[in-house]
C-alpha cells in the first residue's frame, strides 16, 4: 500500500517532464553532481545476481570485455582495456559507481573508452535499432551496481 502511493507520486512527478518508464529516472533527468548520482534510478535496490549476469553478457554490460574480475573466474577471457574491478566497492562509493555506469565520461574523463550505459547522446551513425536507446535500462544499471557493491575483496 505504501509502495503504491510512492509509485503514484513518482509517476505524477515525472509525467510533466515526459519520462518513458513510470517510476524510473529517464536518461535526460538524471542528476549527476560532483561525480555522483545519489538517487537510485528505479527508486529501489537492484538485484546483484542479475547484475552479475549482465556484467558477463556480451550483448548487455559486456564488462568482462575490458575488465578483469576475479569473482567471475569461471569465465575465460577477461579483457585488460580497463583496470581490474576486484575490490572496486572499496575505492568508490555507491553514488560514484552509479555515476560511472550512467555516464562514464563525466567521471572518468571525456576521452575514456568506457561506454556510458545510461545516456542518450553517444557517437554519430548509431544503428537504427539502438537509436534513442540507452545501452542498459534503469533496472539493469541498478542490478549491475548492486553486484559491484559486492566486490569488496582486492
Amino acid at each position: 500500500m505504501r509502495l503504491g502511493v510512492k509509485t503514484l507520486a513518482l509517476v505524477v512527478l515525472f509525467s510533466a517532464t515526459g519520462i518513458s518508464y513510470a517510476g524510473n529516472v529517464g536518461p535526460d533527468e538524471v542528476k549527476l553532481v560532483d561525480g555522483k548520482i545519489a538517487m537510485s534510478l528505479t527508486g529501489s535496490n537492484g538485484d546483484a545476481a542479475k547484475g552479475r549476469d549482465i556484467f558477463i553478457n556480451r550483448k548487455q554490460g559486456n564488462c568482462l570485455a575490458c575488465h578483469v574480475n576475479k569473482e567471475i573466474s569461471e569465465q575465460a577471457f577477461h579483457g585488460k582495456v580497463g583496470p581490474p574491478l576486484d575490490g572496486v566497492a572499496g575505492r568508490w562509493d555507491e553514488a560514484e559507481l552509479r555515476a560511472i555506469l550512467v555516464n562514464s565520461k563525466k567521471v572518468l574523463g571525456e576521452e575514456t573508452i568506457m561506454p556510458s550505459f545510461y545516456r542518450l547522446i553517444n557517437g554519430t551513425r548509431t544503428m537504427k535499432k539502438f537509436k534513442g536507446k540507452t545501452i542498459l535500462s534503469a533496472e539493469q544499471v541498478e542490478d549491475v551496481l548492486a553486484y559491484l557493491k559486492t566486490l569488496k575483496e582486492e
Binding site: V68, A76, K80, V81, G123, T124, K133
Partner: protein, 285 residues
Amino acid sequence: MNINIKILSATVGICAISVSLIGQAFADADNDKLVVDGKVITTQAKAPADSELEKLYSGWRFRADETQSLQMDDFENPAFVAVDQAEDQFAMVEGKAGKSCADCHSDVTDFKGLRATLPRWNEAKGKPETLEHIINECRTDRMEAKAWKWEAPEMLGMTALIGLQSRGMPVAVKSDGPMQSVWKKGKDLYYTRVGQLDMSCASCHENNYGKMIRADHLSQGQINGFPVYRLKWGGLGSIHRRFKGCMQNIRAKPYKRGSDEFVALETYLATRGNGLSVETPAVRN
C-alpha cells in the same frame, strides 16, 4: 578436407593459449619473426615522423602462434586456394572484347609493387582508386565484361594474387598532392566517435593496441595483409569488410564497401602503415 581439419585444430589451439594468458601481463606485440619461403618479412617498422604511433607493428605480431604459423607456409595458408583460382582466372577470356587479363598483362608478376602504393590518385577520373577499382576498370572498359562485386570471390582472389606480387615490399602510400584531401577525410573518420558504444577506431587501435579485449588481442588495425583469410569468415575478406565489422561491433551503421568514406579510411590507414611490408594474403583468426 585436410585444410578444414587444420583450421579446426588451429582454432582449438588458439583457445587454449588465450585461456592461459588470463591474469598474465601481455601488453604488446610478440617478438616472433615472419619468414615465408625463406624470405624475411618486416612486421615492425619505424613510425613515420607525423605518426601517432611509437612503432608500427603488423597485425601478425598480435596473433597466437597457431594462426601465425598458417601464414608462414604458403602450403598451409588457406588463402592460396583462392590465389590459385585467380591464376586460372587471369588467363580466362571473358567479356565482349574477347580478352583475358593475360592478353594485356603478359605475366601477373608485372604487378610487382602495385599493392604497396594503393590507394592512389586517378588523374583521368579525378578520384582516388583502390585495387578493386583498377581491376574493375579493366573488366568493364577493356574486357567489356561485368564488374565484380567488391566482396565477390573472384575479386577477393584477384586482389590477393595481385597483392602477393608485392609481398615483402614496404608500403609507400602517398598522402600529399591530390590525395591530401582524401587522406584528411580518412583521418577525420578514424578519430570520429561512432555508434551507441561511442568509440573511434583510435579508441581501440591507437590507444589500446597490445591489450586484450575479452578474447581478442588488439592490434594497430594495420591493413598491409589484406585481403586476409579469416578463420572466422572461413574465407578471404576485403579491407572494407573488416571496417564494416568493426563499426557494427560498436553499434554504428557502417558505410558501404567501396564508398568514398571507406576509400578515404583505407587511404589514411594505408599511410599509417607506410614502412611495413605487404603481407598479402595474411591469415587471421
